[in-house]
Symmetry: C2
Subunit: 622 residues, 2 copies
C-alpha cells in the first residue's frame, strides 16, 4: 500500500513534469527548468502532505499553498490539472490572452492563493495566513514553496523573523535549492547546510531533504506537522531542470521553454529518466485528506452595522492620525473581521487605540513594512479586514508588495501618517511626499486625505466598506480643528464645498493640512473683495469630477490646487486631469524644493504652500 | 597613558551625552535616549578606532562612518562637535530651519556620510563603500552604526548576505542593542547571543561587547580590524537612555527630548552617573590616527571624453535594453568611474554586455533590489558612477531607498527594463507600469524613455553627465526599429518632432514602444487626410515644454498622449501639466485595466494604447 502510494506519487511528479515541459513549449515561453526542480515536492504536497478538499477550494479549513517562486506557474497549474480541476485543453491555454493560466499566478486563476512573480513575497503572505489561522482558532497549515534565489530578498527575512517571533508552527516553508538563478548560480549554491544553520539561528526548525526522493519527502512532510512552537522550513536539495538531460543542472536555461522542435526529444529524455513512472499503469485510489473543522473555530463577517457618529467638538483640535485610531477602535467593535497591523509606530499612527480595545486583533509587525503588507494580504485572503499603518513615507518600502497586492485583488486598507513637510523638525526622511502619487498608481485604489477628525472617522468606515481593492488614508501629525458636524457624511469619491458664492473669482482646492491654509486665504482674500470658492478634496481618487467642474466653472474657471506633497502624481495633477478640456486656468501649489528640518509653518512657507502663497497666486491668476 | 586615553574617551562619551540631552532639549524634539545608548560606542569610534583626518573629510582614505540609526542624529553632531568641527552655537541650531543639523542626517550636513532616517538602509550604503574601497584598492574601513530595532528591516539582511558573499572584511557594523524600540521592546530584546548566532550563520564574524565599557569597546574595535575574509559585526549590549535615570531603560521615551524644565535635573543625573568624566580636568593630547594612502590606490575621474557615435543600421531591429548594455560597455571604456550593479537579471537587462568588457567593475547584487540601490549610494559617495539595472517593476522594491538617495543628493543612474504591458506573456507581476510615476516623484530626477537603440545609446551618455541627482532610463523588452541616424543628438529635456506640417489636425505625443504605434497611426490617418504631428517625448522629466507647445499650437491645439504605463503620474499627466492654461484639447491613452498575460499586441489592444485606439481617438477629438 505504501509502495503503491510511492509509485503513485512518482507518477504524479512525472505527470507534473510532463505539463511543465509541454505547456510552456506550446506557449513558446515559460520557466520549465524551475518547475522541474520542484515537481517531486509538489507531488508529495498535493497528493500526500496537504489536508484539503480540492473540490472546495474555499473551505476555510483547507491547508493553503502559496507558490512564492511564481515563475514556476506551469507547475502550479500542472498540480491542479493532476488533482483533476483542470483539463488538458486548459493546460494548453497557458500564457494565452484570456486564459486564467497566466505567466505568473494571479488571482484570476481560481486555485491561486496569491499573486506572485515578484520574488520574496510569498512567505509574508503565508505568515499572515498562519497568524490568521491562530486568530481564528483553525488548524490548517500554510505551505509556501520558495526558490533558493529569492532568499536574497530582504522581505523573506522580515517574514522569517516575524514568524519565529509569533511561533508560527502552522507555517511550513519549502526552499527548492536548485542552485541556479536566472543569470548566475545563487550565493549559497548547493550548500544546503548553510540554509539550515541560518534558519535555525532565526529560531526556525530546518529540515534537510533530498528534494527528488519521494520517500524522504513524505517523511519530512510528516515530521513538519509534528513540530511545535517554531515555524518549519524544509530545505530541499534539487536540480534545476531535473529529468530533461538537455537542460538539467545547466546554466543558461532559466525562463526558457523547450522549443517545439526539441519537445519530442525532451519528452523522450523524461521517459528515460523516469521509466517506472512513465510506464505507470496501475490505478491508485487516491483520496484527499479532507480537513476537519476544529470545534473552536470562529468565522468572522466582513459586513457590519453602521458606526455611530463620533463626538468631536467643533473647532477643538484633534490630529487626524488620532481620529484614525479612535475610528478604528470603534470599527473593531462593530466588525469582528478587522485586524490592525502596525510597524512599531503604533504610538505615532495611533493604532495603539485599537490595540487597547482589541488586543487579540492587533499584531505588532515591528519595523518591517514589506512583511507587514504581505501579512495583510494573507489576512485578507482568509477573510479578515486588515488596516495597516505606519508613517506614509515608509509605505514606499512596501511599494512592490502593494503593487502585487493589487494584482492579487487584495482588499487592504493602508494608513500613512506624518504626511508632508508639515511634520516639521524630523526632516525629509520622515515626510510622506510621494505617497499620493504612489497610491494613485495602484490599480483600483482609493486615496483619501481628510482634514479633520470627523471626516477621518467617517472615511475609516468607508474604507472598510470598499470592496474593489486597496484603500489609502493619509493622516496628519499635528492637531487640526474640527470643521465638520459629527453627522456629516463622507463618501469615497466625494468632496465638500466649504465656501462658494455666485460671484467667485477663483476656486481653491485643497485637502488635509493645506485646507486650513486655504481657509485662511479665503478670509484674507475676502477682505480684498476677492471671493474664493473652497473645496475640501478629501477623496483624491476617485474624485468628484462633477462637483469640481461645477464650482470651478462658476469661479470664472480659475483654479488653485494646494497640497503638502510633490507635484508629480499628486492632488494637482489629479485635478488637472479631471478638468482637462474645460478651458480652466489652473495653478498647482505643491512641494517643489527638497525639504528640510524646520517648524511646520516655516516649511510650508519655504515650499510656498501656505496662506500667503495661496493669496499671492490667487491675485496673479484672477 | 592607556589610562589617560580611557579617561579621555569616557570624558568624550560624557560630552556627547551632554549634547545628546541639551541639543534636543533646546530644539524641543529629538531622540535623546537613542543617542545615550550609543555614546560610548561613538566616543571610542571617533577618538580611538577610526583612522581619519577630521579636518579633511573628503580624504579618500579616511575611514567612513554611517549612522544607520539616523534618529540618533544629535549624537552624530555631538561627535563632530567634540572632534572640533562644530561650535557650541552650531549645536544649538539643531533641528532649526536653515541649520544643517537636521532632525535626521542629510547631506546638507558636511560630515554626514549618508542621509538616513528610513531604517535599515545604512548597511547597504556601507557595503557599497566597502566594495568600492576594494575596487579602488584602498584600505579604509567603513563603520555602520545600527539600531537593534532596525534589524527587523529586510534590507539589512540583503546587505548582510551580499557583504558575506563578497567577503567584505573592511565593513564593520555595530549594533546598539538597547532593547527598546519606539513603541515596544524589540523582537530579540537583550538576547544578544541570538544576534551573534544569526550573524555567524550568515558567515559574518560577530563580536559581543558591553557597549558601555570603554576598555572592552577599545579591544573589540582593535580586534575588528584584524579579522579577514568576513564582514564584522559588533553586538553591543547597551541601555537606552543610559546615564539619565529618569529615562534609562524605560519604555515610553523613544523620540522624546528632555523637557526644558527637567533639563537641569537630567544633567545632574548625568553628572552623578559619570562623576569622573564630569570632573575630568586633564588635558589629553589626542591626535587623530591619520589615514595612509596605499601605494596601489587608484583614483578615478567622473569626467570623460565624448563617446563615439554608435553603428546601428537604420530600420534594423534592436531592443533598447540591449542598446543600454552596449552603450554602457562603451561608456565604461571612456569613463573609469562607471560601475554596473545588477539584480541577477543581467541577461535580461543586458548589463551582461558591460560585464563582458569590464568584469572588474560589474557587481552581481543578486535578487535584492533594496541593497543594490543602497550599494549604489555607497559607490557614488566614493566617487564612482553607478548604473543600476533590473526590471522596472522591481525597482518599486527599492522605492524607499531611491527616495532616501535623493534626500542624500546621490547621483545614481537607474535602468528599468521590461516596461509596460508590452512584455506580454509573463503577465502583470513583471510589467513596469508605475515606474514613470514613481521616478517623476523623486526630487531632481530625470526620467528617460527612448524608443530606439540610437536614442538609448545617446541618453546613456547624457545620464552619465547629469550632475544633479538621480536619472532613470526605461527600456523595452522587444526589439524595435532604429529610427534615428547614428549622429543624431539627444539631450535631457529634449524631444524629437518626427512628423509635422503646417496643417496638422492633431499632435500625438508618445515615447518608447508606443511611439511606433503612433507612427503607424500617422500613416493610417494620412490616408484619411488627417495630418498628425508626432513627437517622440524621450525625456519625460524634464520635458521640452516649448517644443511641445509650439507643435501642439500648430496642430489646432489637439493632443493625444499615448503610453504603456498607468495614467497616474505618467507621460500624459506630465504633458498635461506642461500644457496647462493653453486651452488645448487633450486625450490621454494609458493602461487603465489590470493587465494580464497575452501577446504584446493583444495587450496593447486590450489597454487601448495601440494604433487603432490612437486613430479612433484622433478622429474623435479633431
Amino acid at each position: 500500500m505504501h509502495n503503491g502510494l510511492k509509485a503513485f506519487l512518482e507518477f504524479k511528479a512525472y505527470r507534473m513534469r510532463y505539463w511543465s515541459v509541454v505547456a510552456p513549449s506550446e506557449a513558446g515561453s515559460g520557466h520549465t527548468t524551475s518547475c522541474l526542480s520542484a515537481a517531486d515536492i509538489m507531488s508529495v504536497l498535493f497528493f500526500y502532505a496537504m489536508h484539503y478538499d480540492p473540490k472546495h477550494y474555499n473551505n476555510p479549513d483547507n491547508d493553503r499553498f502559496i507558490l512564492s517562486k511564481g515563475h514556476a506557474s506551469a507547475l502550479l497549474y500542472a498540480a491542479w490539472r493532476e488533482v483533476g480541476m483542470l483539463s488538458d485543453s486548459d493546460m494548453l491555454t497557458y500564457r494565452q490572452m484570456g486564459s486564467t493560466l497566466e505567466g505568473h499566478p494571479t488571482l484570476r486563476f481560481p486555485y491561486a492563493e496569491a499573486a506572485t512573480g515578484a520574488l520574496g513575497i510569498g512567505l509574508s503572505i503565508g505568515a499572515g495566513e498562519a497568524l490568521c489561522a491562530r486568530t481564528d482558532r483553525r488548524t490548517f497549515r500554510t505551505y509556501v514553496l520558495m526558490g533558493d534565489g529569492e532568499t536574497s530578498e530582504g522581505a523573506v527575512w522580515e517574514a522569517v523573523q516575524l514568524a519565529a517571533h509569533y511561533h508560527l508552527d502552522n507555517l511550513i516553508a519549502i526552499i527548492d535549492v536548485n542552485r541556479l538563478g536566472q543569470s548566475d548560480p545563487t550565493m549559497l549554491e548547493d550548500h544546503v547546510q548553510r540554509y539550515v544553520e541560518i534558519f535555525n539561528a532565526f529560531n526556525w526548525r530546518a529540515l534537510l531533504v533530498d528534494g527528488h526522493d519521494i520517500e524522504q519527502l513524505m517523511k519530512v512532510f510528516d515530521k513538519a506537522r509534528e513540530i511545535t512552537q517554531k515555524p518549519i522550513v524544509i530545505i530541499a536539495k534539487t536540480f534545476k531542470g531535473r529529468g530533461i538531460n538537455m537542460v538539467e543542472d545547466k546554466e543558461g536555461y532559466h525562463g526558457k521553454a523547450i522549443p517545439k522542435d526539441k519537445l519530442d526529444e525532451a519528452l523522450k529524455q523524461l521517459k528515460n529518466n523516469f521509466p517506472h513512472a512513465a510506464a505507470y499503469n496501475r490505478t491508485y485510489d487516491w483520496k484527499p485528506k479532507l480537513p476537519e473543522r476544529p470545534p473552536t473555530a470562529i468565522t468572522v463577517q466582513r459586513s457590519f452595522t453602521k458606526m455611530a457618529d463620533p463626538f468631536y467638538q467643533r473647532d477643538s483640535l484633534v490630529a487626524t492620525r488620532k481620529a484614525y485610531g479612535q475610528a478604528l477602535a470603534v470599527l473593531g467593535t462593530v466588525c469582528d473581521a478587522v485586524v490592525s497591523l502596525d510597524a512599531e509606530v503604533k504610538n505615532s499612527t495611533y493604532a495603539e487605540i485599537f490595540e487597547e480595545k482589541h488586543s487579540n486583533r492587533f499584531f505588532q509587525c515591528f519595523i518591517a513594512e514589506q512583511n507587514m503588507v504581505g501579512m495583510g494580504v494573507g489576512f485578507d485572503r482568509r477573510n479578515r479586514m486588515p488596516f495597516i499603518s505606519t508613517f506614509g513615507a515608509f509605505l514606499t518600502r512596501a511599494h512592490d508588495q502593494i503593487r502585487m497586492a493589487a494584482i492579487g485583488q487584495s482588499r487592504l486598507n493602508l494608513v500613512g501618517s506624518h504626511a508632508g513637510v508639515s511634520i516639521g523638525q524630523d526632516g525629509p526622511s520622515q515626510m510622506a511626499l510621494e505617497d499620493i502619487g504612489m497610491m494613485r498608481g495602484i490599480p483600483q485604489s482609493v486615496v483619501l486625505y481628510p482634514s479633520d477628525a470627523v471626516s477621518t472617522y467617517k472615511l475609516v468606515e468607508a474604507m472598510a466598506r470598499y470592496e474593489d481593492g486597496i484603500t489609502y488614508l493619509r493622516t496628519t501629525r499635528s492637531a487640526t480643528p474640527i470643521i465638520y458636524n459629527n453627522n456629516e457624511d463622507f463618501i469615497i469619491g466625494g468632496c465638500k464645498v466649504l465656501q462658494e458664492t455666485d460671484h467667485d473669482h477663483v476656486c481653491i482646492i485643497a485637502a488635509g493640512i493645506t485646507l486650513f491654509e486655504a481657509l485662511k486665504a479665503y478670509k484674507l482674500l475676502k477682505k480684498e473683495k476677492i471671493n474664493a470658492a473652497i473645496i475640501d478634496l478629501y477623496s483624491i481618487k476617485p474624485l468628484d469630477e462633477s462637483t469640481i467642474k461645477r464650482v470651478v466653472k462658476k469661479a470664472n474657471n480659475k483654479v488653485i490646487t494646494v497640497e503638502d506633497h510633490y507635484l508629480q502624481g499628486g492632488l494637482g495633477e489629479a485635478v488637472m486631469y479631471a478638468l482637462r478640456n474645460t478651458g480652466v486656468t489652473i495653478a498647482c501649489l505643491a512641494v517643489h524644493k527638497l525639504p528640510r528640518s524646520g517648524k511646520p509653518e516655516e516649511l510650508r512657507a519655504f515650499e510656498e504652500i501656505d496662506t500667503p502663497a495661496i493669496v499671492k497666486k490667487a491675485k496673479e491668476i484672477i
